[in-house]
Structure formats: structure tokens, C-alpha cells
Symmetry: C2
Subunit: 696 residues, 2 copies
């Protein structure tokens, strides 16, 4: 299908054209406001003219084959029109009508299927059904029912499956929009298709998406990879954190690596700006758009406030969001001291005092001094920019816009403390100068956190790919035994404790040749479950002589314990020392492929939910970052006098596990290595237990 015909059609037919108020009327009116208006045609069964334009009575009458069809007619007519359009060679369509898969009737689902089938048959790029369509402000074309006042060519391209969220996003961001797409039921084109289009269009500076689910993982990957490499922010509000409860108490990887967590892990890899609430999503998108690519080059913030109370709020909020407030450099302190009143201390965050702001030149010094500080990368101005302009606001607006134009001002955001009507003119001037207003209170610091994370993300430190599995996967599951599981991993260079079975005393010697001392010996018997009770386990054996003695004792003890037990022999295992316990796991997501989970052993992962997740393939660098993301990372770096762990060996292991998982993306369902012992630096790691579940 040709997305271009959908996103930027040179010609359009509006079927069901009307001048009535409401959705269909809006659609009819908006269509002829576009730059393609000379190639916009109306079709109506009943009317000869709408809005002073000729109405055709059928598609067949049209003077040209339009590239796109906007269908304003009821659900039951849709498949028929699409069939006709397809035959004619119309390559794209927007269907507004609801009454398809979102309804719970058989008839509605049948119609939905029919629509999908027709589009697939003729390769029609379909937007909808059950949507409000598309606005392309960059090229000035509209095929949708938005009631548009004006088309501006902003930088944000937004797509949402929910009309409510598209609408809510659109309203405050009207002046910043490049595209608005209401994807509706996404029968054919889904959110990820539109994201690809946005990623490719270099006029788009910010991609914003509300995502319920993805159907085409390869398209999501393409969009995210392309955007990451172009340093274009992708701001996503992902629905369904609660429904999945992916970090619920269950211990095995499958349930830890639930759906929402999977998406978040993918987002992390590609540097997506992942938002949690609608307003955060809209405000963060706008922030990036207003900044126009100007990003902090350092991660330290300067808080510039006008009261002690505000300073305290600023510091508390920064702490909450992990934002660093560096001390001012001595040179900055001196420059500030020269202009600040005696009762203000030149410290960060700074109480700049309202008094100072009556003296413009001093304020200029203030801003430039901060902008020149070697440790500061961003300024947060604590200012409500309320509707009743204050003298300090006037000074701020004047100077900041001037300094920004002169290139003398660091990236700066306005962080209001209070929700209140703002001074529209001031906000406008500031935004035009590239200075955004972030959210209120701590919401603003979430925005700043997003900005800093985006600025710090380096795409070349990540493997910008996923090991997407085949579309059709075997449904059966087969658990391998511990020995089988370990045998799968050893070819990848994974170290597991050695073991060998001695069926009788004569085989002990041969078994010992395969397993280094010290060893553990235990009976191999399906009939003896409580081996310790039976006296069938011997620890810490260091010589052949002791091993032979242990063999005989185990045999004798077992006979005494249960005379009729089947005894297959004695398993001789390498006795590995304890190390710091780590859990590694793979959950092979049916859509996105293997996801590596890393956590500290046992209770930490299971009770404290301290685990990190990233899609495979994993680079060594990414493996290191995953470990650093653990709250208990300190346990690996040397805690309370214990030596630092062999993180190098552990990240090597993670890469090997990822390699295994990528090669087996179609036949491994899940995998657990629990525990992995990590020893002190230079002493490596050992996978003491492993369980692989195959798809068969």
C-alpha cells in the first residue's frame, strides 16, 4: 500500500458530502480548505451541490481517479464503496463511520472483516474505521472530520487510537502540529504505520503517539530506529500498565516480563520518551517542539526562583526526579555576587529576588553568568507567568528572548508552581523564542527529566534492532531437564558446574576425571526424594579415596533407607562456591521476540520486583546498563567491605544468553537461570541452575 496517498493525497473524493452541522459537515468543509482543493470532489446520492460545489452522484462520474476517498457514509455502506474504489484504483481511504469491531455484535465484526479484506485485496491504505481521520498541516491537506480553524505547520506529528486522546492532545497543541491522525480501529493502517511516515518526514520534529497495542512489530522497530538515528523525540503514552500487572509477585520470568514492561523495555532501547499520563504526554511533546532541537549539553540544572519557598520546592522536586543541581562554579558565584542584593546568596537553586528584576542590565549579567557556568546545561525559571503580568515577568520575557536570539542563553524552561490562567502574550513570545512552559509543580520536573534523558541517550550505544520471531510459532511447550538446559547453553561459552554419573564404583574414577574437586555426591534415584534424610548426599569431597568411600556409604545408606528403591548411580557434581546470586531469564515475546531479564537473586526479584528488562540482542554496554538500573546494584559493586563482583564476566554471560535467545527466537519460549553465582572480580560467574522451555 502507498501511505503517501493517505497522508498527502493530491486528489480526494468526499463520499457522503453534506453541509449539515456535525462530523460529516466538518469533514465536507475541511476537505476543500486544503492545498489540493482543486482536486477535491464531492459525491452525494441526493444532492447536486454542496457548499457551492458540484456533487457527483457516484465515483464512476468523477473526472479523475482520486488518490484518496473520505467516506462519511454509514457503516453498512462502507465495504461496497471500498470495493468500487479499489476497482477504480483509488489507493487510500479514510472511514469515519463507527459500528465495526468496537461493537460487540457478530454483524459488526463481520463488516469489519469485510472492510479489511477489501482493503487488502486492492492494497488500499485505510485510516479507520471509527475515527476522525487525518490532518496534514505541513502540506495543507485534510481528510477527516476535525473542525479546523487554521492549519499551521508545526513540528509535532500525533497519532492515537483513541479519538478522545487525539482531541485532548490537539486542543492545547493546535499551533505546533504537523500531522494529527486519529487511527480509530486500525483495521489496515495502524499507529506504527503512521509513526514510520512521521519518522521519514524530516519536517516532523516530534513524534507523539498514544499506543494501545501494536500489530506490526517490524514497523514499530523501523519507526523507532529511524527516529532514534535522526535524534527525533518519540513521545509515547502507552496504555495498560495496570491491566497487565507484569511485575506481580510471580517468580518466573514469563510473568515478570509482562506486556507493559515489554513495551517499556523496547522504549528504553530506542530512547523513547515514555509518558504515564495524558497531560504529561501533551506537555512533554510541546516542550520538545518548542525547543526546536536545542537540547542541554550538560545534565546539571540551575533553578532560578523568586522566593525561598519556591527554592525549597524546586530542590525537593529535583531530588524526586533525580535531577542534579550542581554547585555554581566560583566564577559564576563572583559574577552573581556583583549583581545580587546583599540578602541573596549566589547559590543554586537561586533566589533571584524580585528586586533585582527592576534592573535589566543586572538581570542580563545573571542569565549570561549562569549560561556560562561549566556545570549547568539547563535553566528552570520558577515563574507562573500569570495573566496579571508582574514587572519581573516583563523583564524575564524581554531578556530571555533577546539572549536566546543572541545565542547566549542555555536551553531554558518555565516551570510554574501553580495552576492558573497564564499571560498568553508572554507565553507566546517565550515559545517563539524556543522557551517552553513545562508542567505545573512536579509534573514540570517529569518533563525536565524526559528532556535530560533524551539529551543523554546515545543511539550508537544500543543495538537498534529486535529479534522478531516468525509470525507463526509452535503452540506446544516442552520443559527441558536441568542437564538438557545446561547442555544447550555450554556451546555458547556459558559456564555451568561440571557433573558426571557413576553407575557403579568402577565408574567413579572416570566421573572424577570430568569434574574438578571439590565435589558433591548424591544418589541418582527416582525413588529417593529426600536425599539428605536418606544419608544420600556427601559434600565437599576432595580426594578419589574419599569419593570411593562416599560412593559406598551412599549406596549402603540408600539400601538401609529404602531397600527396593531404584538406584541409577551416584551423580558427582562440581561443588561451586557461593557468590552473589543473580537471576537471568528470557521471556520470548510472541510479537517482539526474546527479552532478557536480569535481577538480583530470589527475594530481591520476587518480593522487591528489582529486575531490569531489555529486548535482545543485548550489547555488552546495554548489559552493563541493565545491571546499573537495579536498585540493588550496590551489591555487585562491593557492599560493606565485600569485594566488587566480576561484572565483566556477568555482562559477557548476558550477551551470550542473548545470543542463544536470538538464535532460538522461534523455538525457545522461556528460560530461567536461577541462581547465577557471580564471584569477585576476575573469578567469573557460574550458572548453577537452568531451565529452558521450548516451543514444540
Amino acid at each position: 500500500m502507498d501511505m503517501r496517498k493517505l497522508m498527502c493525497p493530491k486528489s480526494l473524493v468526499v463520499v457522503g458530502a453534506t453541509d449539515k452541522p456535525g462530523m460529516t459537515g466538518n469533514g465536507t468543509r475541511s476537505a476543500v480548505k486544503g492545498t489540493n482543493k482543486d482536486h477535491v470532489y464531492y459525491v452525494s446520492l441526493k444532492r447536486d451541490e454542496v457548499l457551492g460545489r458540484k456533487c457527483y452522484h457516484s465515483l464512476a462520474e468523477l473526472p479523475e481517479v482520486p488518490e484518496c476517498m473520505l467516506l462519511l457514509t454509514p457503516a453498512k455502506t462502507v465495504a461496497g464503496y471500498l470495493e468500487e474504489a479499489g476497482k477504480m484504483g483509488i489507493g487510500a481511504a479514510v472511514v469515519i463511520a463507527s459500528g465495526f469491531s468496537e461493537e460487540r455484535t457478530e454483524e459488526a465484526h463481520r463488516m469489519a472483516k469485510e472492510v479489511e479484506d477489501v482493503c487488502n485485496k486492492y492494497d488500499i491504505a485505510l485510516c479507520g474505521p471509527n475515527c476522525v481521520g487525518i490532518v496534514n498541516a505541513l502540506d495543507g491537506v485534510v481528510q477527516g472530520t476535525h473542525d479546523l480553524e487554521k492549519l499551521v505547520d508545526g513540528g509535532i506529528a500525533v497519532v492515537a487510537q483513541s479519538g478522545y486522546l487525539t482531541g485532548g492532545f490537539r486542543q492545547p497543541n493546535a499551533d505546533q502540529l504537523a500531522y494529527v491522525v486519529s487511527a480509530g480501529n486500525s483495521s489496515v493502517c495502524s499507529v506504527e504505520d503512521y509513526m514510520c511516515w512521521f519518522a521519514d518526514d524530516d519536517r516532523v520534529t516530534v513524534i507523539s503517539a498514544y499506543l494501545e497495542g501494536v500489530k506490526k512489530p517490524e514497523r514499530l522497530v523501523y519507526a523507532l530506529e529511524t527516529a532514534a538515528k535522526k535524534r527525533k523525540p518519540v513521545v509515547i503514552l502507552k496504555a495498560g500498565e495496570s491491566a497487565k500487572g507484569s511485575f506481580a509477585a510471580a517468580s518466573h520470568t514469563g510473568s515478570l516480563a509482562g506486556n507493559y514492561a515489554t513495551y517499556q523495555a523496547i522504549f528504553k532501547k530506542f530512547g523513547v520518551v515514555a509518558c504515564k499520563t495524558a497531560q504529561e504526554w501533551a506537555t512533554t511533546s510541546r516542550m520538545f517542539s518548542v525547543l526546536r532541537g536545542k537540547l542541554p549539553e550538560k545534565l546539571g540544572i540551575c533553578g532560578l526562583n523568586f522566593s525561598g519557598g519556591e527554592n525549597t520546592q524546586f530542590a525537593d522536586n529535583c531530588e524526586r526526579y533525580g535531577i542534579d543541581i550542581p554547585e555554581f562554579d566560583q566564577s559564576t558565584v563572583e559574577k552573581l555576587r556583583a549583581v545580587l542584593p546583599s540578602y541573596s546568596t549566589p547559590a543554586n537553586p537561586l533566589d533571584a529576588t524580585t528586586t533585582l528584576f527592576s534592573e535589566t542590565e543586572k538581570v542580563r549579567t545573571l542569565f549570561t553568568a549562569i549560561s556560562e557556568d561549566p556545570n549547568i546545561g539547563i535553566i528552570s525559571l520558577g515563574n507562573d507567568m500569570g495573566a496579571n503580568s508582574e514587572p519581573k515577568d516583563i523583564t524575564c520575557v524581554k531578556l530571555m528572548t533577546e539572549l536566546r536570539a543572541e545565542g547566549k542563553l542555555l536551553p531554558t524552561v518555565i516551570s510554574p508552581t501553580w495552576e492558573k490562567p497564564r499571560h498568553a502574550d508572554f507565553i507566546n513570545q517565550l515559545e517563539n523564542a524556543g522557551i517552553p512552559l513545562v508542567g505545573i509543580g512536579d509534573q514540570g520536573f517529569k518533563c525536565i527529566r524526559h528532556l535530560l534523558d533524551f539529551a543523554a541517550y546515545k543511539y550508537d550505544e544500543h543495538t537498534l534492532e529486535l529479534a522478531l520471531p516468525a509470525k507463526e510459532l509452535a503452540e506446544g511447550k516442552l520443559s527441558l531437564s536441568e542437564a538438557q538446559s545446561k547442555a544447550e547453553l555450554t556451546p555458547y561459552g556459558v559456564r555451568v558446574p561440571g557433573q558426571a554419573l557413576a553407575k557403579d564404583a568402577a565408574e567413579v574414577d572416570a566421573a572424577l576425571a570430568k569434574v574438578p574437586f571439590p565435589v558433591v555426591m548424591k544418589v541418582e534415584s527416582p525413588d529417593i526424594l529426600h536425599k539428605t534424610d536418606a544419608g544420600a548426599v556427601k559434600l565437599n569431597i576432595n580426594t578419589k579415596e574419599d569419593a570411593l568411600k562416599a560412593f559406598d556409604e551412599i549406596m549402603a545408606n540408600c539400601k538401609a533407607y529404602k531397600a527396593d528403591a531404584r538406584i541409577d548411580g551416584v551423580m558427582i557434581q562440581e561443588m561451586v562456591p557461593n557468590g552473589v546470586e543473580i537471576i537471568l531469564g528470557i521471556n520470548n515475546d510472541k510479537m517482539f521476540g526474546p527479552m532478557l531479564l536480569a535481577g538480583l537473586g530470589g527475594v530481591f526479584t520476587e518480593v522487591f520486583k528489582d529486575a531490569s528488562l531489555l529486548p535482545c540482542p543485548i550489547s555488552k554496554k546495554e548489559a552493563g546498563e541493565m545491571l546499573k538500573d537495579l536498585k540493588g546494584y550496590k551489591l555487585l559493586t562491593g557492599y560493606r567491605g565485600s569485594k566488587p563482583c566480576d561484572i565483566d564476566a556477568l555482562t559477557d554471560l548476558m550477551v551470550k544468553v542473548s545470543e542463544y535467545a536470538v538464535e532460538h527466537k522461534n523455538d525457545v519460549a522461556e528460560m530461567d537461570m536461577n541462581p547465577v553465582f557471580v564471584y569477585e572480580e576476575g573469578k567469573g560467574v557460574c550458572v548453577t541452575d537452568a531451565l529452558i522451555v521450548k516451543r514444540v
Copy 2:
């Protein structure tokens, strides 16, 4: 001092009266708008008349001794006027001038001290200096420089040390205010004094405070206790979470129980609504005021939204804030099914559909059905109430106000998703009906969380007191030995492992009489540090014979290891089994007294910061709640097949430790029990190590 003369003076003198614009002019004008205006007098050195009123030239000339003095004159004149006022018997004063302790000059600090001394000498209740004074809207009196348009008698009494935060709070809440107090430098009357006044005044329905620090802990306790018993919400924004970093990595109790955490622990005990940001503080206060004491009786919420996207946002936000969304009862489902359109499922959260809202009677059924559901205690209506009223908004406002008046509507809040201009009329009608608008997006769910917590708090389940220490405490610190520390605790019924010293073999028998088998024996010697290396530790000794043998072996080994070592004997210790490790600690706050800390042992407390804190005395019920607050609580209730721990014995121990701490509030500085072993149910606990630091 008499707070009444400050908060509700029957007569007032304004010194420095002026008709100029600005602060002093505002103060002059506002003073005569009060109900006490016939007893308001102006004093001015230069003027004979201000605002058409006679001006006196000195306090001495006044026709009566006013109860309060509002001082609008500069800092350097303040002490003089206060001295004169004190002599005359004026019992209260408000000082606006800045230039005292907030400045960093010696002169300013000298003046501040002088002001404080004069007030103390004459027992003057002083507000300020460096403040904007007091508005008492309930009685219609003003002694401050607020530029007031009207006085309404709302329910919120607010006090803040920061003028910026008082102002910011006041603006959006102007129609809900009972008192506004800007406490300024709080030289005499501090935030906690005003809170006491608010707690006692039954016309005040919500107490709101911005708190930087407290000077009079007994006053804070009085205010919180009184409010808790009256079920009056106390909404506090506490500054300084970051500065203290109280949960920083350090392991010992003192640093875990830092200052911010201490306040939060006190707040928890008294059911204070503790906010983190200014807007949250203002909005939550307003919510409580608008609700007028109508609280949810059940903790389940019903989300009533108008789109699938909004429903998802609702569920995700509820999960984030731990808000329970119960399934509808079958009876509710049936009632809803009768009115909802076919494409909407009667599930919670509910997509109520905009269509439905054109039929008022059906909407009535909807609201009453939900209000009658046995598991729902509160309704959240997802509605922006935007300035462009929508038909559904009109229906909502009409029906909700009607039903609320009829007593048929559960406590209901409006939770908007988007920041936008609201429909002032609708908001007004709803608020008048007791239906508040909470914050935007997740901020709204923070408000709801606060509401549910407040509704669930039961003051009679808490010890509403603190063990406040003496004002003057010894500055020295003395660490007791482990044995001394344990000896302090045993009289309180705290179980510690038994031990006894055998100086020679002849004493072994006597020592064994005091310590039950099995025992551990180790050399007691200041010269042998690595006891295990020296062969000077013997574990798991079960008979007298073995004990004597071990004694001899230890002696011989020590002699061989270090011939000239001083040997004091062999310590015979009860060998207690391992249990689940718990840390208990006391940090005796100099202001608020002993705070009990409870955490899971070692890494959990130190790396994962999983600890709870509560001021002593602790009831058994509170001890249980402290344990439930731990993220790792599951480890105590039986984890992965292990048996549940003896929580009864552990909470008993916590109460005993609290009793010890309360009795020693003036002489114990801190205390650590690490680890405490908790055994399975019925098997008790054992304090294996203890360290007490005394104040001397």
C-alpha cells in the same frame, strides 16, 4: 500569651497608617473593613487624617488600649513600638517589616533578638516579622497587608512561613478561606501555634500548613491530636525532603531516621494529609473543604468516563496510587444494563458514553445504581468541565447537584484529564453541591488517595502522643557494650541469647547452669581478634563433657596461636537458631523524642531503604502497621513455603522497645538491635545483637 487577641482582636491600632498604594496602604485600608472597625485606630507621626479617619500621633493618645497592634513601620522602629505597646497592655502585634533574622547581617539579628525579648517580656502574641499578617474571614477582621476584595467564611485555615506559598494558596482558594496567616519569621508565634488555634476553632473544617520547621513540638502535638480527634483534615506541605536525604545509604538508625522522615512519621501517626508539591497541597485542601466532611465509607472507587482511552488512563492511574476499582455487584450490573447503550459494557471503570447523557432519567438511574453498589464508596467522574460546555456536562451538573441534595449520590469528585480553562459556572454549582474538582491526571488520583487515606484513618487505633524529651539534653555520647546494652533491655522482657563467662575450667559448670544447650564457646581475650583462625571458637556444644573438652582445646589453641595473649576466660553463649532477620532501632530526636525504626535485616534496610518509622510510644496495633508498611512484609508472613513468622512476638518486642525508649527519652540517644531473629509462629524472637548509645 493570648492568641485570641492576635487572631480575633476586638480592637486594633494601625501604626504607620497611610493611604499610599502598596503593602502599607493595603494594611491600612483592610484594617477598617473588619467587623471591629469602630475599634480600629490609626497612628501616624505625620498625618492627622488617613482615609477620612482621625490619626493619632502616638499610642498614648488612643481612647482605649487596643488588643492588637498592626505595625507598618520600618524594622528599626519595631522594638520601640513593641516596648511601648507592652507597657500599655496591648497583648498582640503583627509586624510586617522585613530586615530581621532573614538577613545575614549582625545588626538584623540583633534587632530580631530584641523584638523577641520584648514580646516575651510583655507576653505579646506576635505575628511576623517579615510577613503579610492575618486574615480572619470567619469573624471579619484583618490585621495584615493582603489586598482583600471580599471576606468569605470558608472552611480552610491556612498558615505558611513563606509569603510566596501563602499567596499562591490563597488565590485559587479565595472563596474557601476561614483564616490566612503569613507567619513570616515566626519569632514568637509559629506555625504550630496557629494550627492549635485552627484545631480549636470548630468553624474551621480544614487546616492547611506549609511547614519549614517546628519550634514547639508540644504545640504541634496538641494541634494534630485535637484535629485527629475532631476528624478535621490537616493538610501539610513539608519542605526539605531533599536537603536531608534522610534515607541515604548509611546503615545506622540515626541517619535512616532523618528529619524529613521524622516529620512524615509523626504525620502518619496523627493521620495528617502529607503533600509533596504546592499545587497538590492547595487542591487537596480545597477538595476537603468542598466535601464538607462527607467522606467515603468504603474504599472502592467507580470510574465514570466517556471514552475507552479515558477508562484506560483511569485504571492505570488507580493502579499507580493503589486505589481499588471493585467489580460492580450483580444488582448494579443489571440496573446499568437497562440504561446503557448496547455497545457499552456495565463494568468498572465505566464508559458511560456521551449518547446516554442526552437522556436525563437514564443518567439518574446510572448514578443511583452506582451509589447503591455495596462495594463502591466514591465516584470519580472523568470530565474536563471545559469552558465550552458540552451537553453531557450540563446533564452531569444538573443531576449530580440534584442527587447530592437528595442524599442519593456517593461522595463524588470530578477528575479532569487535561489542563484547560474550565466552565466556571458549572464548577461553581458542583462545588456548592459538595462535589470538588481534583487535580489533572495523576495529580487528581493523588488527591483521591489522600481522601481515601483520611477516610480510612482511625484515630483511636493510634497512640496520639509523643514522648517529648526535656528541652535541655546532655551533649555527650557514650556507647554501651553489647552486654551492657542487652542488660538494659532484659528488664523490659526482651529476650537475648544467654551467656556466661568461665574464667577457668572449674567455672564451666556454673556457666552452663545459666545458658541452655546448645552453646557456642569462644575465647574472651582482648589480644585474639581472629578467633576462628586461632581455633578459639567451638560451635554447637550439647553436653557438659564436650564443653569441658572444648574449654581445654580453646585454651591450648590460643596458647599455641599467641603464647603471650591475655586470656580472660571462655564465653559460653546460647546458640540461637537463625530466623528471619529484622532490624529495630531507636533514633531519639532531640525535638520529638524516640522514633522507632523497623526494617528487614541488612541489605533490605540499607540498600533497598525498606524501613518504617513511627514516633514512640507505639501501640501493638501500630507496630503491626509498621511491619505491613514494609515492601518485604511478605517475608514475615510466609514466603515460598516457609512458615509464617511470629509477628505477635515481634510486635510485642517493638512495644517493649518503645516502652524502654519512652522511659529513657532523656538519656538514650540511639539504639540498634541488629539482627533480631524472628522465628516461626509461637516460637518468638531473639535480639542477638544490641547497641545503645547514651547521652551523658
